[in-house]
C-alpha cells in the first residue's frame, strides 16, 4: 500500500517537476482555447445547415448529417493519427499549410487543432440542434405567420430562445474537450500527459501523471458545478409559477 502511494503520490517528485508539468498543461489550455472558439463556430454552421428547409437543400442536409454522424462515430485518436500522418503527404497543398508552424506553435499543435475542431464541431452541432429543436414549433409558425422570412424567424425568434437552453450541455462538451486535448500526446505535442509520462520514463515514478490529473481537476471540477447551476437556473425559468428574471 505504501508502495502505491510512493509510486503515485510522491509529493517530492510532484514538487520537483511542477513547473515542467504546468508548462505542459498550459499547452492543453492553449489548445483548448483555440479549438473551443473554432468548434463553437463550426458547430453552429453545421447545425444551421442541418436546419435548412426545403427540397433544394436536401443534399446539403444529408451531407451534414453524414459528417456529424461519422465524426462522432470514430475515435478521436484515430482522427488525430490520420491527420498528423496523412496531411503532410498531400503535396498539392503548399508546404507552409501542409506542415504548419504558425504563431510559434509546431505542426503537432495545428494537427491537433484541426482534428479536435472537426470532431467537436460535430458534437457541438448536436448541442445547437437540441437547443433549436427544444423551441416549440408554434414559435416558428407564429413568426412566419406574422410575415417574417425563414431567416428572420430563425434569427429573431428561434435562435434567441434556443440559446438559453444551450449553455449547460455546451459546457459539458467543453469539459470533455479540455480532457481530450491530452490525446495530442499521440502526435508528440508536449502537453501535460506527454510531459508527465516522460518524467515517468526517467524517474520510474508515476506521481507527475497524477499531478497532471490534479491540474485538470482545478479547472474541470468548478466547471462541472457550474453546469449544475446553469441547469437549475434554466429549470427555474421554465417551471410554472417560478420567479422569472428579466434580462
Amino acid at each position: 500500500m505504501s508502495e502505491f502511494f510512493h509510486q503515485y503520490f510522491d509529493f517530492t517528485v510532484m514538487g520537483d517537476h511542477f513547473s515542467e508539468v504546468l508548462e505542459g498543461f498550459f499547452k492543453n489550455l492553449l489548445l483548448f482555447a483555440v479549438v473551443v472558439l473554432l468548434a463553437l463556430l463550426w458547430g453552429l454552421i453545421l447545425a444551421l445547415i442541418r436546419q435548412l428547409p426545403g427540397k433544394k437543400f436536401a443534399p446539403l442536409r444529408f451531407l451534414t448529417i453524414a459528417y456529424i454522424d461519422v465524426l462522432r462515430a470514430i475515435p478521436i485518436l484515430i482522427i488525430l493519427l490520420l491527420i498528423s500522418g496523412g496531411i503532410p503527404y498531400l503535396e498539392f497543398i503548399p508546404k507552409d499549410i501542409r506542415i504548419p508552424h504558425w504563431f510559434g506553435q509546431p505542426d503537432p499543435f495545428w494537427y491537433s487543432v484541426l482534428g479536435l475542431t472537426l470532431v467537436y464541431g460535430a458534437y457541438m452541432a448536436e448541442v445547437y440542434r437540441a437547443g433549436i429543436e427544444a423551441v416549440p414549433g408554434g414559435q416558428f409558425e407564429a413568426a412566419r405567420s406574422l410575415g417574417m422570412s425563414y431567416g428572420k424567424a430563425m434569427r429573431h425568434v428561434v435562435v434567441p430562445q434556443a440559446v438559453t437552453k444551450i449553455p449547460a450541455p455546451m459546457l459539458n462538451e467543453m469539459i470533455s474537450l479540455l480532457k481530450d486535448t491530452t490525446l495530442a500526446s499521440v502526435v508528440a505535442l508536449g502537453e501535460a500527459v506527454l510531459v508527465s509520462r516522460e518524467i515517468l520514463a526517467e524517474s520510474f515514478n508515476s506521481s507527475a501523471v497524477i499531478l497532471a490529473g490534479a491540474m485538470f481537476l482545478v479547472i474541470t471540477l468548478p466547471a462541472a458545478r457550474l453546469v449544475d447551476v446553469l441547469i437549475k437556473r434554466n429549470q427555474a425559468k421554465v417551471t410554472r409559477g417560478a420567479h422569472i428574471e428579466v434580462g
Binding site: E3, Q7, S84, G85, G86, P88, Y89, I99, P106, D107, P108, S185, V186, A188, G190, L194, R197, E198, L200, A201, E202, F204, S206
Partner: protein, 280 residues
C-alpha cells in the same frame, strides 16, 4: 414504433456482445499476469510453468507481429532461453515507459524489449548478462543534407518516449525541437511525412526501417557502448541465474548466432560472448 424498438434491442444486444468479447480478452490478459505473480515461487522449481515476459511491441526487428503470434530477435531469443529453462515464454505487449515498474511489481516475470542496461534502470530492476550490443542511428530522409548527428542541431528531431535515443537527442542537440513519440514507428512515419528532419533510434530498428519502408537512410551510426539485457524484479536472483545460464547455453550451441543472422542480416559481434555484466 415497433421497428425502432427492434432496432434498439438489436443495438443493445450488439453492445452487450461486444463488451462480453472485450471482457473475455481482458480476462485472458489477467490470468497471464496473475500467473506472473504466482511465478515468483514456481521459478525456484522451474517446473514447466509458463514464463510471463513483458515487451513493448512493435519494435521491429526486435519485437513484432500480432498477439499470439509475436516474433522478432528478442522474442525468438527469449523463447530459446525459456526452452532451456524448461518453460514456455508467454509474451505480453506493454508500454515501454512503464515496463520496468511493471516487472518490479510482478505484472510479469521478465522483460525483453531491446532494453539498454542503464544505472538508472538498475535501481528499479535487475538485468541479465547482456545479450545484445547496440548503437544508435541517425535516420534521415533519402538524399538529405544531414550527414551526422551534429547536423541535426537546430532541426526538428523525433525519438521514442523513454528511450536512450531520446536521451542522446536531449544531450547532444540543445538547439533542436525534440519530439518524443509514443512508438518508434510513429517517429519514422513523421520523418517520412516530413514533419521531422531526423530520428534518433536504435540502429537495428533504423536498419529495418531502411529495408522495409524505404525513402529513409542512416546518416550516421553513433556507438553508445550500450548493451541490452533481460530485466527481472529485484531480488529474483534464482530466476536471473537461470536466465543467464540458459542464455550462455543458447550462445554456445549456436542458436544465438542463427537467430541474430536471421533478424539482422549480420554476424553477431565477437564481444557479445566475452562480455560479462556485473549484476548489482
Amino acid at each position: 414504433m415497433k421497428k425502432t424498438r427492434l432496432a434498439a434491442i438489436f443495438a443493445v444486444l450488439l453492445l452487450a456482445l461486444a463488451s462480453v468479447a472485450v471482457a473475455g480478452c481482458g480476462g485472458g490478459g489477467d490470468s497471464t499476469s496473475s500467473g506472473g505473480g504466482g511465478g515468483e515461487t514456481s521459478s525456484e522449481s522451474g517446473g514447466g510453468e509458463p514464463l510471463s515476459v513483458g515487451s513493448d511491441i512493435p519494435y521491429p526487428p526486435f519485437e513484432q507481429g500480432k498477439p499470439g503470434n509475436y516474433t522478432g530477435f528478442d522474442i525468438e531469443l527469449m523463447e530459446a532461453i525459456a526452452e532451456k529453462m524448461g518453460r514456455k515464454a508467454e509474451f505480453q505487449d506493454t508500454s515501454f515507459e512503464t515496463i520496468f515498474r511493471d516487472v518490479a511489481q510482478g505484472k510479469f516475470e521478465a522483460v525483453i524489449s531491446a532494453a539498454t542496461i542503464t544505472e538508472e534502470r538498475e535501481q528499479a530492476v535487475d538485468f541479465s548478462n547482456p545479450y545484445y550490443l547496440s548503437e544508435q542511428a541517425v535516420l534521415v530522409k533519402e538524399g538529405s543534407d544531414i550527414k551526422s548527428l551534429k547536423d541535426l542541431d537546430g532541426k526538428t528531431v523525433a525519438a521514442q518516449q523513454g528511450t536512450t535515443g531520446l536521451e542522446l537527442a536531449k544531450e547532444e542537440l540543445g538547439g533542436s525541437e525534440i519530439r518524443p513519440y509514443p512508438e518508434g514507428p510513429d517517429a519514422v512515419n513523421a520523418l517520412k511525412a516530413g514533419t521531422v528532419e531526423g530520428v534518433i533510434i536504435d540502429a537495428p530498428v533504423a536498419q529495418n526501417a531502411v529495408e522495409k519502408s524505404g525513402g529513409v537512410e542512416i546518416a550516421e551510426k553513433v556507438p553508445t557502448e550500450e548493451t541490452y539485457g533481460i530485466a527481472v524484479a529485484q531480488g529474483e536472483t534464482e530466476l536471473l541465474e537461470e536466465i543467464n545460464k540458459a542464455l550462455k547455453e543458447v550462445e554456445q550451441e549456436g542458436t544465438y548466432k542463427t537467430i541474430y543472422e536471421k533478424w539482422f542480416h549480420l554476424e553477431p559481434p565477437k564481444e557479445i560472448e566475452s562480455e560479462t555484466h556485473e549484476a548489482e
